[in-house]
């Protein structure tokens, strides 16, 4: 074969024999040879192995991400889990109740409490958590010694890979009734205190745990953005007489702006999801008054109380509002001239 573009299969070889492809036409990385002129059948024969490769993942996604969407019909039912062992059979035989579950939700003070707790936690984390990785990244970026940098990064990334069970157990050793803080207080004649079960401070405890676990990991995207800034920009700014701080303001921060915008969009889109596993693990210790968020509300009513229709209705409300938030946040990002999660 003397073509510079190699046919992928016999099917395409036949095709290219008829219409020779100009050299260098399809050498872009990852680009298939031009396929516009191939018929669907030929393309299928050419790409069937690639399609076969995606099949397991597509099946898993369809089964566990798409099929359950249909299961949301139980939100409109008085779902009875005892009709059959099999949930699908139960769905088919459960009575329809229209919007009754949604009406109950609107009148349920526990639901509105969960909404309030969710929003409070979201805003608290936005204010107290969100800026920390940016500041840490600026700090790490200003460290020039490679070894110091590597060690600091290794330590800061570490808690991200711990499970929530472990993180909460660690916090219990620090701030729990038998933790090191209480131990020190008692050793000096004060009363010990148990921050882990205090509903008043729970929202700050949650935020502190999130910072401890993930703030270090959060710097990685910012470091990548900082590394991509051309040193020429700094040099040019310095030549023009810009000092350290003015360089940070006029060169570094503009480089971070798209990343910050993207992460803000993602965060706002995810506003109604605040640390499900983290909060669920501490719900019993603190009590639902302070520790019930939307996700744990769904869990409690569905999994614990077996009131599946009601829980699914609450989950559906959350899901629909969340989807709206993601799309709205993207819209705002586009209006502000930023990229957002998907392109316009």
């Amino acid at each position: 074969m003397s073509h510079s573009t190699v046919p992928r299969s016999r099917a395409e070889a036949e095709q290219t024999r008829k219409t020779p492809v100009a050299p260098g036409d399809a050498t872009g990385s990852g680009k298939r040879p031009p396929s516009g002129k191939l018929s669907l059948g030929l393309r299928f024969r050419r790409d069937r192995v690639l399609l076969l490769m995606t099949l397991p993942a597509v099946l898993l996604v369809l089964l566990f991400n798409y099929v359950p969407i249909l299961g949301n019909v139980v939100a409109f039912q008085e779902y009875d889990p005892y009709i059959s062992e099999n949930g699908i059979v139960s769905i088919l035989h459960s009575p329809w109740v229209g919007l009754e579950n949604f009406q109950r939700i609107l009148e349920d003070s526990a639901f509105w409490n969960a909404v309030r707790n969710t929003l409070v936690l979201f805003f608290l984390q936005l204010v107290l958590y969100f800026p920390i990785p940016i500041l840490l990244a600026l700090l790490i970026n200003s460290v020039v010694r490679p070894r110091v940098r590597a060690v600091a990064q290794a330590v800061l990334y570490l808690p991200h890979f711990f499970s929530w069970v472990l993180v909460i157990a660690v916090f219990q050793q620090l701030f729990g009734g038998a933790g090191i803080l209480s131990q020190l207080l008692r050793a000096h004649g004060y009363d010990g205190l148990d921050i882990m079960t205090d509903p008043e401070t729970f929202k700050f405890l949650i935020t502190a745990q999130s910072v401890w676990k993930d703030a270090g990991w959060g710097i990685i995207v910012f470091l990548a953005a900082l590394a991509s800034v051309s040193p020429d920009l700094y040099e040019a700014a310095a030549m023009d007489g810009a000092g350290r701080w003015r360089r940070m303001w006029h060169v570094t921060l503009p480089a971070l702006r798209p990343v910050i915008a993207l992460l803000l969009v993602l965060r706002v889109g995810d506003a109604l999801t605040v640390g499900f596993e983290q909060i669920l693990l501490q719900r019993d210790a603190v009590g639902p008054g302070a520790a019930e968020v939307l996700d744990t509300f769904v869990w409690w009513n569905g999994v614990r109380n077996q009131d599946f229709g009601y829980a699914a209705a609450a989950g559906l409300v959350k899901g629909v509002v969340s989807l709206g938030l993601v799309l709205a946040a993207n819209k705002v990002a586009h209006l502000m001239g930023e990229q957002g999660v998907y392109k316009k």
């Binding site: 680009k31 460290v143 669920l280």
Partner: protein, 311 residues
Amino acid sequence: MTAVTDKPTRAPGRWAAPPRPVWEERPSRAGLAGKGLVLTLACLGILFPLWIVVVTSLSSRKAIDEAGGLVIVPQDITFVAYQELLSGGQVTRAAIISVVITLVGTLFSMAVSVLCAYGLSRTGSLGHRWILMILLATMFFSAGLIPTYLLVQSLGLTDSYLALILPSAISVFNILVLRGFFMGISQELIDSARIDGAGDFRILWQIVMPLSRAVLAVITLFYAVGYWSAWFNASLYLNDQDMMPLQNVMIQLVQKQEAPVGLGQAIKTGELSGLAVQMAVMVMALLPVAVLSPFVQRHFKKGMLTGAVKG
């Protein structure tokens, strides 16, 4: 940490700073000290709690009683807590279960993800846009806890370890990262392999994967950590207490302060301290992660970047 003074004459060591560009001003002493202090405090804030946990797990009952609980200064080191936990029984079983689930799950997830990522990495292939859309859309919605629970139950996966692997087997984000990396591999290389008669599977195995070690290491770590840390699905789908993985046992032992099955008597009367046992379980949960993640660290940025930019 950065308190060492810069003398231009000093021979460059591994900890030394690279030469500064001429236009950059020298940092002030106060600035360096401040940065060093903040960085040191941040690192200590992470390492100190872990230190207490490790030291207490290694302390004898006497040392723990003397310290009034958690031990900060190591003395009277003993491995008795680990010996008891690993000599069979609840925690040993849970640890083995967790290791096996992590290994099998990670292998499965990687196989499915790598195949899918390669299948989607040749832009212009039939249907690749559609499949990408199907995967991407899942990042915008979630079907909800209750319908997913009912589905897994209907599939008969309750009380089966498949319930801990299949529903969370793939992460679309990870597939996109892999795909971004695969797309960067030159088409010429793949074409030349094809001339030599290699099929897609062979190209993936012998050309693409060896060239992608960095990103494969990162994604393997992500999946492995996911399986190792998971507890919620086990609490949802497993009823048999003897089937529980390590994280769920840790919830019982550390959070709810129960004694491990079979060791209650030893803790009440003998040398064994209940606190040391709790801390030892925590160390068992954190050790694999703490040992493995620094090795993969240098690939993080590379792996994340290619995926994020091209995704």
